[in-house]
């Protein structure tokens, strides 16, 4: 490849957008051309600078809810927001201190269009159907935790509770309510428990709060700045016992 052609293609070469043949030919020219090499270095430095420094704006947590409630839904009231639910607010008041005994606020009301609940149930179901339960299938907590931490800027609690009847199955990346989430997968007998951990703008601790959605039991709480949601079709009492084991002893 002559100089003009190679020089013209340098940006695409830096962006790795050339096919194998042209990529090879440009690379071969650059190796012999000090002028192209110099420019390539500046371009590559620029690329690194942009990728490292450009702000990645995250959607505000309320936006997902706002969009969710603007979408048409059948036979569901759209006015209730999650934080206004009596049970959740009650739990918020009762909680607030890390490690306090579990305060359980069970809500019995018509299902509100909480996008988070819809989301975690959909994630849970999809993880069972799509043969995509785990990205990192291992019962070793010392593998799962760093694997997740390396991919998300959060470090959730991961414990092997095999001895207690809740063996760790693995972890995967998921989305909850517009947030990147760690999904940590456990089993109880034949049942799968998906535990989601993610960061929202709400950081203060929140005591456990159990509810039911589409036949699944859901327990959520917040601790150490991380929001946790456990979803499973195991019985509510077993799911709560599981959450207690997780929270107990740090």
């Amino acid at each position: 490849m002559n100089h003009d052609n190679a020089h013209r293609l340098l940006p695409a070469y830096v962006d790795r957008q050339l096919g194998p043949l042209r990529g090879y030919l440009v690379g071969r020219h650059v190796a012999m051309c000090p002028s192209c090499l110099g420019q390539l270095e500046v371009m590559q430095a620029m690329r690194t600078v942009l990728r490292t420094n450009l702000t990645v704006h995250r959607a505000p947590p309320a936006l997902a809810a706002r969009i969710g409630s603007a979408l048409p839904r059948e036979a569901l009231p759209v006015s209730r927001r999650r934080l206004l639910q009596p049970g959740f607010a009650g739990a918020a008041l009762a909680g607030g201190i890390a490690g306090v005994a579990l305060t359980l606020a069970v809500t019995r009301m018509t299902p509100a269009p909480d996008p988070l609940l819809t989301d975690v149930v959909a994630d849970h179901v999809r993880s069972l159907m799509a043969d995509h339960l785990t990205d990192v299938p291992t019962s070793d907590q010392h593998t799962v935790k760093p694997w997740l931490s390396a991919r998300l800027d959060l470090s959730p609690t991961v414990k092997d509770l095999g001895a207690e009847g809740y063996p760790l199955v693995g972890g995967r990346l998921d989305y909850v309510d517009g947030h990147r989430a760690a999904a940590i997968v456990y089993r109880r007998d034949k049942h799968v428990i998906n535990l989601f951990a993610f960061v929202t703008s709400e950081r203060s601790d929140l005591a456990t709060h159990a509810e039911k959605r589409d036949g699944f039991n859901i327990v959520r709480w917040r601790m150490g700045g991380l929001s946790y949601v456990a979803v499973s079709d195991v019985e509510a009492s077993q799911l709560l016992a599981f959450v207690r084991l997780l929270e107990g002893g740090g």
């Binding site: 293609l9 340098l10 940006p11 695409a12 962006d15 957008q17 002028s35 110099g38 420019q39 500046v42 371009m43 430095a45 620029m46 690329r47 690194t48 600078v49 942009l50 990728r51 490292t52 420094n53 450009l54 702000t55 990645v56 704006h57 995250r58 959607a59 505000p60 936006l63 997902a64 706002r66 969009i67 969710g68 603007a70 979408l71 048409p72 839904r73 059948e74 036979a75 569901l76 996008p115 819809t118 989301d119 959909a122 999809r126 989305y175 309510d177 517009g178 990147r180």
Partner: protein, 174 residues
Amino acid sequence: MAADGRTRRFELLAMPHLDAAFNLARWLTGNTADAEDVVQDAYLRAFRYLDAFRGDNFRVWLLTIVRNSFLDWLKDNRSGRALFQPAPADMDWADPAPSAEAMLLDRVDSETLNNLMAQLPAEYREVLVLREIEDLSYKEIAAVTAIPAGTVMSRLSRARLALRRAWVDNEKKP
């Protein structure tokens, strides 16, 4: 239940891309409140036209709609800033700049860089966001921005040069 099933399908497809949609809208509008309006408008449009989605990449399809929503928002909210006006690229990668090394990684001040980026024309900002943050291919960028595939490389190149020029000029200030 049909409407609700459709809503759920849409949420499964679209909600995972909310951060990407917001990021693009935020970089284009320059502020959170307008970005939220643009994203919400885009999501409702995407929901309406869900049946028209034929491609294999929902994120690209959605980002295209976000950009269209932004263009419509722009028509209704003309700010004084000249958006989508190409800046002259009178600088070459070979230009000897006194502080060319200033763009090396360890010396870059993120805040300044982001401010300079925010002042670039929107047509430059969008390709940089799609390439450097969203990691879209040239072909995907062409789909989102409706510019010919062959133009993406030069557009990106001019965008980076414009940012570098702005950086160098900024460094020269006392």
